[in-house]
Each structure stands twice: as C-alpha cells, then as structure tokens.
Symmetry: C2
Subunit: 333 residues, 2 copies
C-alpha cells in the first residue's frame, strides 16, 4: 500500500468532480486527506466520501498548501489562475481544462499511450479533451501496429460533455416531449432531445470548432506525430454519458483486420467488441461507467490505401475526464 496522499479537487460539485470522488473511492486511491474546493456559491455544501461527509470550501491558494495532487476541473480560466499557484505550492496539478494542453512544458497524457511524457513534468499535467482521449484508445494500438498516416473522425458526443447541466437539459427535453411540451435550450444552442447538433465548443474562422481543432492538435501531441493530417466533425447527440467516434484511418503499412483486432484486444484500456454476426459492437448504453473503451466494426476502409474503418465508444465522464485524470495520478505513485 502506498503512503497516503493529500488530494484536492477544484470543481468538486461539477459532473467530473463527482465522478472523480466516486473513482477515488472505488479504485482505492490512497487518499489520506481530501479537500473539496469550488466557487463561493458552492461553499458549505457537503459531499459524501468513504462514508463521511466533506464540506466544500472556497478554492483559494491557501488551500493548495501541503497537497500531493490537485485535480482541476473548473474551466480554463480557473485553471490558468490556479494551476501555477498549486504547482508552486508543491502539488502535482492534473488539469482537466484545455488551458495547458498545448503548452510545450506541460505533458498531455493518456497513461496507456504516452506515459513516458510524464517524466519531464514541471508540476502541471494536462488531461486530454474527452473525444480525443476516447478516439485515441482505439487509434493508438492501430498506430503502434501499422503506423498512422492520417485520420478522419466523426463524433457522436454525449450531453455529459457539457457538464451536469447538459445531462439535465436532455432529461428535461425528453420529459417535456412526453408531456407534449417544449423546453427552451440554455446549455446547448438548440434543443438536443431527438436532435443532432453539429456544434461542440466555439466556432473558429476556419469553420472548424475548437473541439474539432483540439482533436487534431491533441492527437498530434499525444501520438508524437506533429504533422499528422486529421479532420474531424464533432456532433452532439441525445445520449447521456458515452461518446462514440466513427474513424476512417490510413496507415503506413499494409493493414489486416485480424492483426488490427489483435492489437486492440492486447491494448490496456481498450476492449475488442467486434462480432457483427452476434450483433456485438460497442454502444453508449454498454459503455457508461466503464473503465475500458470499446472498439468494434473494424474492417478495411474501401476509400483509403491501407485504410481501416472502425467505431470507438467510451465513457465521457470517465476515460474522457475523471478516470484518465486519476489514472495519471495512479501512474505517478
């Protein structure tokens, strides 16, 4: 058993923060002390952890003193402000925002894919974007086997990616529908129940969204393929908490479906679910609150040389956020 760690969570009351607390407990992370930190409006709330009740305190620099790990999940602006303070106070900061992901002094880590990047950290470690993390759990093993040359991804992203209010907005939309009513969207730009919104995060002048650009840039950094051609279309779908990605990928070497399946099956954190004859393939309902990401529908791509088409599903709140952050910490102790 490791020595107990003093752990802080900023954004403890959010969707990711709550999953993180659950995972710290269920995965027996050696927590000696847990400090739950949030914005002033959540101060005083009490959250359960290991049968006790912990009161939320305000996220201020003094609270970072003595921490071994600080998990930051309160948006990019809060991260930019707090991460350097916490790192200076001696904590290892694992940041769930996009604030530091492309900073060359900050490792961006999927522990199963590029754990070696942790070696050079300077106190701040970035947790990848949710769609990127889940996509790479299927792409990385195939890259290791065949050498990735380019990829095109279309996402099917769950509402949990927009936080707790994303989940309640889908619930409210569906309940309103069942009563013959409508609800005004607030978290999403349009109603999400029974709809598809091809718009995740803000639009850039290029016509791509920030989410689509994150998938490109973060994939390049994590895979150490700085010039990798990547195109993405990111779409919000009426699913609660697991993202799916349809990938068309071209490789350097000749591909083989059996070898691709074997590479997925052998990769830690990925699961091969690929028996079409039995209607078996990964789906969001089977990949909610699940550690592994599922990969299936693997076949030769018919439009790319040495191409594979496949389908990946993973829990947005877990591998896409809280779980991967915790796995980074687990990897470091």
């Amino acid at each position: 058993m490791s020595v107990g760690k003093r752990v802080g969570i900023v954004g403890a009351t959010g969707a990711v923060g709550r999953e993180l607390m659950e995972l710290l407990e269920s995965r027996n992370f050696p927590v000696e002390e847990l400090r739950l930190l949030a914005s002033p409006r959540s101060v005083g709330k009490k959250l359960p952890f290991r049968g006790e009740s912990i009161e939320v305190r305000e996220a201020r620099a003094e609270e970072f003193e003595g921490l071994d790990f600080l998990f930051l999940s309160a948006g990019g602006d809060r991260s930019k402000e707090m991460a350097p303070l916490a790192a200076k106070a001696g904590a290892v900061v694992i940041d769930n925002s996009s604030a530091f992901r492309m900073d060359e002094n900050v490792p961006l880590v999927l522990p199963e894919v590029n754990p070696e990047a942790l070696a050079g950290h300077q106190g701040i470690i970035a947790n990848p974007n949710c769609s990127t993390a889940i996509t790479l759990m299927g792409v990385a093993p195939l890259h290791q086997r065949f050498g990735l040359k380019r990829m095109m991804c279309s996402t099917y992203q769950a509402v949990s990616g927009a936080g707790a209010t994303g989940i309640t907005e889908l619930e409210a939309g569906v309940r309103a529908w069942s009563e013959g009513k409508e609800v005004e969207p607030s978290t999403f730009p349009h109603p999400i129940a029974f709809n598809l919104i091809p718009h995740v995060d803000k639009f850039l002048d290029s016509g791509y969204t920030k989410e689509e650009v994150k998938m490109r840039n973060e994939s390049r950094k994590i895979l150490s393929l700085p010039g990798l051609p990547v195109s993405c279309t990111c779409v919000r779908v009426p699913v609660f908490r697991a993202h799916a990605i349809s990938v068309f990928a071209e490789f350097e070497q000749e591909v083989d479906v059996a070898a691709a399946r074997a590479a997925i099956a052998a990769f830690e954190g990925a699961e091969l679910i690929d028996s079409p004859e039995n209607c078996e393939y990964p789906m969001p309902l089977n990949y909610s609150s699940k550690v592994a990401c599922g990969v299936g529908r693997i076949r030769k791509d018919e439009a790319l040389e040495n191409g594979l088409a496949f389908w990946i599903v993973g829990d947005q709140l877990w591998k896409g956020a809280a779980l991967n952050a915790l796995q980074i910490a687990e990897h470091m102790i």
Copy 2:
C-alpha cells in the same frame, strides 16, 4: 393541368405509404384514381385522401390493370414479385425497395441529379436508399463543381428508416425511461433510446452492412462514377425522421469553400444553411417534413488533398423515400 393519373400504392399502410398519400395530396399530384394496396392483414382498413376515405385492398396482380403509376413500398421480396407484373400491365413502377436498384436495366434516379437516366426505363424505376439519396443531395452539386474523387461518410440515421415500428420503438423506449422502466427491443437489435447502434441492415462477410454497401454502389450508379472509392459507417441514432451524414470528400479540382457554398445554394432540392457565427447549420428537428435537404458546416478538409468536410440533413421519409418517388413520377408527366 395534366391529365388525371390512376395511381396505386403497395404498402399503403406503412410509414412511407402514408407519407406518399399526404404528398400526393399536398403537392397536387393529378390523381384521378388512387388504389391502396397492402398485405391481407391490412385489407379493409380505410385511409383518408382528399377528404374521402379509401379502403385498402389486397395487393394482387388484377389490381395493377389500368394503372399509370404503381408505387411499391412493401419490401424487396414483394417488389421482386409484383414489379414485373405491374410493368407488364402497363404501369410505370416506382420501387422503393433495394430489389432492382443495381439492375442495369433499371434506372436509379434522384430527379435533381440524374433525370436523364429515366429516358431508357423499361417500366421499372428504382428509388434510391434513403441515406444515399440524402447524402447525394449534398455531394452531387459539389461533384458537378469540383469532380468527386472519393468520399467517406458516417451516418446518423433516424428510426423512421426502420418503418413505423422504428418510430414507436423509440417512443416506447423513451416513455419507459421516464417511468424508470426498460423495454425489450424488437425492431432494433438493441435499445435505441439514448443509445447509438452502429448497425443498419444486415452484416456481410466483409464486415460492412448492406446499408453501407448500398451507399457505395448506389452513389456510383447515380453519379455515373463506377469506380468511385466510397467508405461508409452507418449508425442508428435516437432521432425520429431525419437522417444526417458527416462527409469527408476529395475532389479532382482545387476546392474553395465560397464556390462550394454557391454550388449548394444553386442546386435544386438542396439548401445552404451554413452560418456558424449565428449557430446555423442543418439539424434533424429543422429538416423533418421538409422538401429540401440542408447542407452546412462546409470547410476545407484538413486530411485530404482538395478535400471538403460537410454535413447534410434530410427527411428520411420524404427525400429518403416517399418524396423522391413522387418527384420521379412528377418528372415523368
């Protein structure tokens, strides 16, 4: 005003048949007589048309006598049996099944894309697969402008594609969820509410589904590009009646987003909805019971040479089925 036509519908009580009756009425198709035909179990049902009530009769060869047009929408086996009989009786058969689509003696027609194919018909005309029809309403104008070289499509397919029971199964699944219950799927292989099923139509040995192969083969035939490289992943989503498709396409000529937008805007049956700055892009909720297909999110593809990434949405029951069938008949009179 054209001379009145004697029209038959086989599959009148199905989802597509009902839309067809509505469209015959709302588009003022010159119907002199309407014969509603179906399997024995639907005989005797009465359906409204132009303020009258028409009784459903059994679909038998005698009923085809004297018809100008017969719309067949009762599955491939019924089509194979009935289409030749009706054509022999002198009707122009417009068949919504996959039975004749790849038959070289049968035109496969999107009237806005390849109306010239109608010229050589021998009594049977095939209506394209729903995903193919909607995809090509966005792809064809870009092909005409830049010359299509290859394309990769990921679909987001509504439950209406599985017929009336697909719609009721999504409704039932969502109502059960709101009551804290579950329902056994029967139309789909898995629950569809809040889920994604990467499986539309049957699997083939290649690992592709029939739906994915239809999109490839029918696109090649309609666009007269017999060797076109096409890869598709087809996914059922919890949306009622509009399909969406995320496309990555490579072209022969240099592409330009402004020219691409102009080509879409100028194409009959397509609508350009592409103002990201105003959160405007096509979505299923806006493209249900709509004649045009919407195209948006047009931008340069970052992984293909001369590539464009874009997003198409269209009504599965209309452009994907009943409307296109009727447009074929309209084109012929």
